[in-house]
């Protein structure tokens, strides 16, 4: 496997003796879908800011495709990483859906005819092709985030970071985005997705979960192993996914459920069978 992101011994603190991140190291492979979770104050938002170079690490280095992330390389690296931010309103730059999807393309000086095709194609991919001329005020939070995702997908980047992209959405919006990420991954297995999230259900669906706790990597493994012990998770103020909870309860009663079942719908189907 080819490493696309490597985080090496990163330390960061806003105040002098209070470290938010303390000697954090991990790597992410090409085409992986990794979720980063942790309770409030665990340092995951800070890590997101470091990865997108909004903040600079005090110690340690971050490598993107073997290129060190710093002031000189950041312009280059912006062409590899797209970020979906938390607040749907504050990242909606264009005045309409199509303008917003086109914004990144305009910045890359792509000619108009091609731009129109790309906008059409990617708005369809996120299911916003019927809303092209709508203004942000007429859209729901989930729809706005889908537009933001389309704007980044249109740039054809290698890495996509979701910086708590679902934390300001209603449950329906969370579901929309969760499904969209999975669909995206299915269509383009090469795409590396890092999702910093509160949503443990999403974490359960990803390839790998990294849990941060008090500035350190607490766990870094596939979801079924990470969430294997409910007590351990409770200790760091996290829960385990709902589907897993039901599975465990059923297992206790002697009903064995298939390992691959990860969503409530699948589980319901399996039980009703």
């Amino acid at each position: 496997m080819e490493k696309i992101i490597e985080v090496k011994n990163i330390t960061f603190g806003y105040e002098k003796d209070k470290k938010i991140l303390d000697d954090v190291s991990f790597y992410i492979n090409k085409g992986e879908y990794v979720t980063l979770i942790g309770h409030n104050g665990s340092g995951k938002s800070t890590l997101a800011k470091l990865l997108s170079y909004i903040l600079e690490p005090q110690k340690g280095k971050i490598y993107i495709e073997n290129e060190e992330l710093n002031e000189k390389t950041i312009k280059d690296i912006r062409n590899k990483i797209g970020i979906v931010f938390q607040n749907p309103d504050n990242q909606f730059i264009g005045s309409t859906v199509e303008d917003d999807i086109a914004f990144g393309l305009e910045n890359r000086n792509i000619e108009q005819k091609k731009m129109k095709e790309i906008v059409k194609e990617y708005s369809k991919k996120v299911g916003m092709d019927k809303f092209l001329t709508k203004e942000p005020e007429e859209l729901s939070g989930g729809q706005k985030q889908r537009v933001a995702i389309a704007g980044i997908l249109a740039l054809n980047l290698k890495i996509m970071i979701f910086d708590e992209a679902t934390s300001m959405l209603d449950p329906e919006g969370v579901e929309e985005i969760r499904n969209l990420i999975l669909k995206m991954k299915k269509e383009n297995p090469e795409l590396t997705v890092i999702s910093i999230t509160h949503d443990i259900e999403e974490a359960y669906l990803s390839d790998r979960v990294i849990i941060l706790n008090e500035g350190k990597v607490f766990k870094n493994d596939i979801p079924s192993k990470v969430f294997s012990s409910e007590e351990e998770m409770k200790k760091i103020d996290l829960d385990i996914p709902f589907v897993l909870k039901i599975k465990n309860k059923l297992n206790e009663k002697g009903i064995i459920i298939d390992e691959n079942i990860k969503t409530i719908e699948e589980l319901a189907k399996f039980i009703c069978r």
Binding site: I54, I93, D99, E106, N109, E111, E137
Partner: protein
């Protein structure tokens, strides 16, 4: 969002006026505004010429399906100004030729004052009508594109037209968002006991600060996040950018330009004659057989 309707809101029809090039619409707006403020000689003449313009503008409003309701609504917010005009130009001591009444203490009222007020008010109404035609038939973004186009020559002197037009369009984009936000803050503060409706000046100012400060704070954090989001999508103000939308000038615009130039031409000619040709007033009035004032 009723507050944003002061100068008309875009109404999404698809009339001829809507489809015209925004650059042309902006140009004709300014041209016709200038024309309304030209001198037209005596009162009869002024009303004659402005009446002609009123008919043209009313026609454009009907063709462009401009809502007369919103037009009158924005006029209704100007009544204070109209009353001031009336006081200053009619009731305060004036001079004039056509006396209405002279009081015993020497206070006089003249028809001139009344005509003057009517004339100024008509000009203002026409201005409002013109602006409303533009805003209700043109998307704010299109107006920005038009502005950017007019600013292009300034690039020669290194004026950052791209940055300016993007700034304007972002400002326009965030107006409804911030209005929503201020409504939300107001409701939040009301639920905590702030009264925005009652009280005298000082207490009103105090209650407004409970709105302004949170709004400013959120504005700054919003703009911060927006800047980061723009940068993350590769925005560089000094790099060449392409445009997703460009404006197209069609034969329709050409016809419209000829029409507007014709109207403006008639108006300017009338103004020139009225100002420089002695006796023109009387001549025009004798044609239409109206008494000269």
């Amino acid at each position: 969002m009723a507050n944003s309707n002061i100068l008309g809101k875009y109404s999404p029809y698809n009339t001829i006026i809507h489809r015209l090039d925004p650059r042309f619409k902006l140009f004709s707006l300014i041209l016709l505004m200038v024309v309304t403020f030209l001198p037209y000689g005596n009162y009869t003449n002024r009303f004659l010429v402005l009446g002609f313009l009123t008919i043209i503008i009313a026609l454009i409003m009907i063709i462009g399906k401009v809502s007369f309701k919103s037009f009158f609504k924005s006029l209704s917010s100007m009544w204070v100004m109209f009353i001031f005009l009336l006081i200053f130009m009619f009731f305060l001591p004036n001079e004039g030729k056509y006396l209405i009444y002279q009081f015993e203490n020497g206070y006089t009222l003249y028809y001139d004052g009344l005509l003057n007020v009517g004339h100024v008010i008509l000009r203002l109404i026409l201005m409002v009508a013109l602006t409303i035609i533009l805003t209700s038939t043109t998307l704010p973004m299109d107006i920005t594109y038009a502005l950017e186009w007019y600013l292009t020559p300034l690039r020669v002197v290194k004026f950052p037209t791209q940055i300016v037009s993007l700034t304007i369009s972002l400002a326009l984009r965030f107006i409804p968002t911030l209005l929503n936000e201020s409504n939300r803050i107001m409701n939040a503060q009301k639920s905590r006991g702030v009264d925005y409706n009652r009280g005298f000046l000082m207490s009103k100012i105090r209650s407004i600060t409970t709105l302004i400060i949170p709004l400013l704070v959120s504005c700054f954090s919003r703009s911060d996040e927006l800047a980061i989001a723009m940068e993350a999508r590769g925005y560089d103000p000094y790099k060449k950018r392409s445009h997703y939308k460009t404006l197209h000038f069609t034969y329709r615009d050409l016809l419209a330009i000829i029409f507007i130039l014709l109207v403006a031409g008639i108006m300017i000619t009338a103004s020139c004659f009225a100002s420089y040709v002695p006796g023109f007033d009387d001549f025009l009035n004798s044609i239409f057989n109206i008494p000269t004032w």
